[in-house]
């Protein structure tokens, strides 16, 4: 198959990916589609979501910055566990992902 034309160009199409069956996760109660093997950050990006936490002092939104687990900007709460790096953690079926605020330990 030749390279896709510009209109159809997507990352999946570029590498002719045929991923396993999609599954569902939720983000702040909203159901999202996830492809197996994607990280939480990738799943959220696919849904057009670029931030999932607010900072401690100024309560400003943050998302992916370094993309490789070094900057800790992409911290997310998944299944009740806060401060996980979304760019590293794989998404799993049924994951409950929520926006976290401040130090992430709201529930303590």
């Amino acid at each position: 198959m030749t390279r896709p034309s510009r209109r159809l160009r997507t990352p999946l199409a570029l590498v002719e990916a045929q991923p396993g069956p999609a599954f569902h996760v939720t983000f702040d109660g909203r159901t999202l589609n996830a492809l197996p093997g994607q990280t939480v950050a990738a799943v959220l990006w696919s849904a057009g979501i670029v931030s999932w936490r607010t900072t401690r002092v100024d309560e400003r939104p943050r998302g992916v910055f370094c993309g490789i687990g070094t900057c800790f900007d992409c911290l997310v709460t998944a299944n009740g566990v806060p401060n996980q790096r979304a760019c590293l953690v794989p998404a799993r079926p049924g994951d409950v992902i929520t926006t976290q605020r401040g130090d992430g330990h709201d529930s303590v």
Binding site: R56, N83, G102, D103, H105, D106, V108
Partner: protein
């Protein structure tokens, strides 16, 4: 001429400037470049044995409050009178705390007994397997580096000058042998008095005047956790901490000291070792501190450590600092050797020094702190343990 821009030097500069003296502060590094930048910022009376040090601490605690209010930077330096809670794991330990507290009360310390079942009310996350504790409402905390920096800034507004990155390499002497100034790698500075506030390196400054001040380094590590909500409300420490402080042993001693900070992370100490100026990180010490901290606060088990830092407490053989003019070298004044209590004792030290220099009656009897009290022989100066028994004196800790 204050040699040392740490907390002690900063406080001395502040009080001296306020008393109208012309002050210059010199440091080979930056402000708070030594032990001040490696401490937790404790202002404690709870761990002081009755005697000169406790008296100094009581005075200093009062002065800290005045300073914070008068200079108007209480919030800026995270000054918080949070109170200290000393806990004992065993009934014997609790009884010892009781005896200690009784003696401390005679010096004006407020110490309230807390039964085991009343501890959770003060500290909800504290282990439920303790025998009891004592609450010291007068204990407080500051952010030490900021506090030193702001005191120096204030002193400069009162006319003091600051010379960082300037190393003192010698002292100038007058015709009669008196100290008349310092020689640095950036020139000579004249002064009526040279104040040795070089903390753990105070012995080196003393040596420049050919006098002996046996300040030795006592290494300590602090673990810093991820930012947390208010998990620990006071400074909490285990009763054996006091014994560690008072010990002369060079071997590793560690007891749990846990406290929260305004910024969020919890600080975990405290270890004491005499290994010279070894700046190498010790995973062994970190593991021990972690274990002790979890014994006190089981909830800390899941909490992550983000970083660690170490510092060298300036340790004097009798655990009292050297404060006052040195009769062996007129013109030289010392204010160092506060071992683990330098932040708390700084204002009283500064106040005392400025009274002594302006010929006023000191607020406390300065005799116990006289710098010449050790004579000139006996203890090794290199900071490496050399205690009688071979295995206790091992350097490779």
């Amino acid at each position: 001429m204050v040699v040392g821009a740490g907390m002690t030097g900063a406080a001395c500069a502040w009080y001296a400037a306020r008393a109208g003296l012309r002050v210059a502060v010199v440091d080979r590094g930056a402000v708070a470049g030594g032990t001040t930048g490696a401490g937790e910022g404790n202002l404690l009376v709870s761990d002081k044995e009755p005697g000169p040090e406790l008296d100094l601490a009581m005075l200093s605690t009062r002065l800290w409050r005045e300073l914070a209010e008068e200079a108007g930077f209480a919030a800026d330096i995270e000054y918080e009178v949070k109170g200290g809670l000393v806990v004992a794991a065993q009934p014997e330990g609790f009884a010892a705390l009781e005896a200690f507290a009784r003696q401390q009360r005679r010096s004006g310390v407020v110490a309230e007994s807390v039964a085991a079942d009343a501890l959770p009310e003060l500290e909800p996350h504290l282990s439920r397997e303790l025998a009891g504790g004592f609450y010291y409402p007068q204990d407080a905390q500051v952010q030490p580096a900021r506090a030193a920096a702001l005191l120096i800034r204030d002193a400069r507004r009162m006319g003091a000058t600051l010379h960082t990155g300037t190393t003192v390499t010698g002292l100038t002497r007058g015709a009669g042998g008196e100290v008349t100034g310092v020689v640095t790698d950036r020139g000579t500075l004249r002064a009526s008095w040279v104040l040795n506030a070089a903390g753990t390196w105070g012995g080196e400054i003393a040596k420049l005047a050919d006098v002996r001040l046996p300040v030795l380094p006592r290494r300590g590590f602090v673990l810093v956790t991820e930012p947390l909500p208010r998990l620990v409300r006071h400074k909490v420490y285990a009763a054996d901490y006091v014994a560690d402080v008072a010990s002369g042993s060079a071997a590793l001693q560690a007891s749990a000291v846990v406290e929260g900070t305004a910024a969020g992370p919890v600080l975990i100490g405290a270890s004491r070792e005499r290994v010279g100026f070894d700046r190498g990180f010790s995973l062994e010490v970190a593991r021990l501190l972690a274990r002790r901290a979890i014994e006190l606060f089981p909830a800390l088990e899941q909490v992550r450590v983000m970083r660690s830092y170490l510092g060298f407490r300036p340790y004097m053989p009798d655990h009292l600092p050297a404060i006052g003019p040195d009769p062996r070298a007129p013109g030289l004044v010392h204010a160092c050797g506060h071992e683990g209590a330098g932040i708390g004792l700084a204002p009283a030290t500064g106040h005392l020094i400025s009274l002594l220099l302006t010929g006023q009656r000191p607020a406390l009897d300065p005799a116990p702190f006289r710098p010449e009290r050790f004579g000139d022989g006996g203890i090794a100066d290199d900071g490496i343990a050399r205690e009688g028994i071979a295995d206790e004196g091992a350097v490779d800790a």
